[in-house]
Amino acid sequence: MPKLSDTMSVGTLVKWNIKEGQTVAFGDILGEVETDKATMELSCTVPGTILKIYAPAGSQLPVGAPICAIGKKGEAAPEPSAPAPKAAAPATAVPAIPEKTEVSCVPAAPASSGSVAPQSDASRTKASPYAKRMAEKAALNVAALSGTGPGGRVVGRDVAAAASAPAVAAPSGPLNVAVAPPADGKGIQPDADVPVGGMRQTIARRLLESKVTVPHFYLEVEVDAAPLMAMRESLNKRLADAGADAIKLSVNDFILKASAEALRRVPAVNASWAGTSIRTHGAVHLSFGVALEDGLVTPVIRDAHAKTLKDIAVEAKSLIGKARSKKLTPNEMSGSTFTVTNLGMYGVTGFFGIINVPNAAILSVGATIKKPVVDAQDRLVIGHRMVIGLSGDHRVVDGANGAQFLQALKQLLEEPALMLI
């Protein structure tokens, strides 16, 4: 099982495209693997004959476990050097690297990201080799830990502390409370323990880690959304004239663009806590939540500060499409500096997201609703109001600069023409 993302510890073999005995060439797509982040294609790096498939489709295996053997026709397949796959039970130990004839399947390389600055969290966090290995075993992100070693280096004791902290802070593990089955025998769903996939485990781990290790504080502002709605309507009307190539701007596209601009005005929010220092980021790499049937993912728009509203709208649409078909590469989901989440389409009027570590803040956007407001002339009028919440990491951002950011954002949203300059 190849390691397809920096945080991947287990993978689920979604399907095989090959059969034993089949000849494969370099670059052939052997099958698909679901990681904690995405479903990815396995491409063949060793031409030859499929001698043996060790892991049937649907099995979940730790990184490094043999999944198939490729060799010369007629050659005997080696015995797998790792335990047989277990259905939906992530093994904790990472077995030894397979023998040479076993799996050499590596994923299709994520498209090279050109001008994008390297943003890998782990590579920019100082951590001892031992701490990195411990973190991998404990499925923790070393970048999210504060190091107590020399120069803020994350060392073994930091990982040990982080690994034991949540267990103390929150009752984890299955609750052994007996819940009576439905009295009429016809409940709303079966009583069952549903095994969770890689994505759900990542959500559980990362958000728990954020919520228990990052000191969140919350700010809220109400925005007059009427000018934004008016501008969107008029732009979309014009854009629709383009016919087949027409793009349609969503409210979220405006919020993404406005967020990038607001970060330019208050760059203190575009930063990360780095143990003993605050790391400021020159580029705005904007992450946004995409809800899926079984969870959510957060694709990243790189260099959003340098993109137009249209660029952002087109890129967001493409990323949402990939997210829904689970084709996002790990690269497209990592390295963000700020995150926007939006539940407005569900009618939620206001909320506060959990910070997407190592971001310093997350923006939570509510629905635009009609309600009575008092205008500048003290008249009671019908307003189109949108409530925006900001959750900030108080190690990086204080109330005042958090508020300045919201102020800048409010101004941009209420006078959306400012986004055009």
């Binding site: 001892s128 031992y130 290995r133 070693g149 020399p150 073994g156």
Partner: protein, 325 residues
């Protein structure tokens, strides 16, 4: 078990081997009539006679060559160098002839010579008498090198060296000659190539050899008492063959390593050990490997400065705390 000195342990090893095997002979400057420059061979001439215990002229290249020739013909000579510093006069014999004859004869000729003597600084004898050539010699395939730190290891390693069929060079330490320790009365050897965990611990591994082991054990006491740190001390005993597994097992346990030796730092034994650890246990390391060695200068003659030049307990403790940071 008898409590005897390091010097007596070496003598007992030679005495027992002289008795066990009549091919064993002792040769060197002043080893017979004068009873040894450091009295290690005291009484052996009287007990075994001038055919088994032979005084040589002051000519290291000559008598080491004599020993090598004799060893090729089946004699098992135990040669004493008054100081290992003088080995440099006989370097061609020690490295080229002794080290290569088995290989170059296609395994037909063995060279079971033992060369022993003190190799240490710290005794105010100046730059030309204070060399520690274990790293230089161990860098030659075909040569075995051991550095005992205790009376037990001194006796066991010397006996193993005498019985080994390859050249084995035993580096002793004049400062340790009077150190006492328990040594079994019965026959035993300490196998070549096997390190010894002299003290168990869980927070830091100190790897040392020779007298640096004694310094490290004292430092481990201080670290435990004053800093609450549990230190494991691994004594290499053999420089080559090197017991890699004992070193790696200890690092896998403590995840931090400090290497201590009385060599000069440049190309020292611990340069090799540091490479070994990072190459085979990189993912076990929770901190960079540090080294404590002699200060990189010709051996200083001024006694008070020379005492500072060698690793001492304070320096080891200080450096250990850096690794533990």
């Amino acid at each position: 078990m008898a409590v005897i000195s390091y010097r007596e342990a070496l003598r007992a090893a030679m005495r027992e081997e002289l008795k066990r095997d009549d091919k064993v002979v002792i040769m060197g400057e002043e080893v017979a009539q004068f009873n040894g420059a450091y009295k290690v061979t005291e009484g052996l001439l009287k007990e075994f006679g001038p055919k088994r215990v032979v005084d040589t002229p002051i000519s290291e290249a000559g008598f080491i060559g004599l020993g090598i020739g004799a060893s090729m013909l089946g004699i098992r000579p135990v040669m004493e160098l008054m100081f290992w510093s003088f080995s440099y006069v006989a370097f061609d014999q020690i490295v080229n002839n002794a080290g290569n004859i088995r290989y170059m004869s296609g395994g037909l000729i063995n060279c079971p010579i033992v060369i022993r003597g003190p190799a240490n600084g710290g005794t105010n004898v100046g730059a030309t008498h204070s060399h520690t050539p274990e790293a230089i010699l161990a860098s030659h395939p075909g040569i075995k090198v051991v550095c005992p730190a205790t009376p037990y290891d001194a006796k066991g390693l010397l006996k193993a060296a005498i019985r080994d069929n390859d050249p084995v060079y035993v580096m002793e330490n004049t400062i340790l000659y009077n150190d006492k320790g328990e040594v079994p009365d019965e026959d035993y050897i300490v196998p070549l190539g096997v390190a010894d965990v002299k003290r168990e611990g869980s927070d830091l591994t100190i790897v040392a050899h020779g007298r640096a082991v004694i310094t490290s054990l004292k430092a481990a006491e201080v670290l435990e008492k004053e800093h609450g740190v549990s230190v494991e001390v691994v004594d290499l005993r053999s420089i080559r063959p090197l017991d890699e597994e004992t070193i790696l097992a200890s690092v896998r346990k403590t995840h931090r390593a400090l290497l201590v030796e009385e060599n000069k730092p440049f190309c020292g034994v611990d340069a090799q050990v540091a490479y070994l650890i990072q190459s085979k246990a990189f993912d076990e390391l929770d901190a960079p490997i540090h080294r404590v060695s002699s200060i990189d200068a010709p051996q200083i003659y001024c006694k008070r400065l020379e005492d500072q030049q060698l690793p001492d307990v304070n320096r080891v403790v200080r450096e250990a705390l850096k690794v533990l940071a």
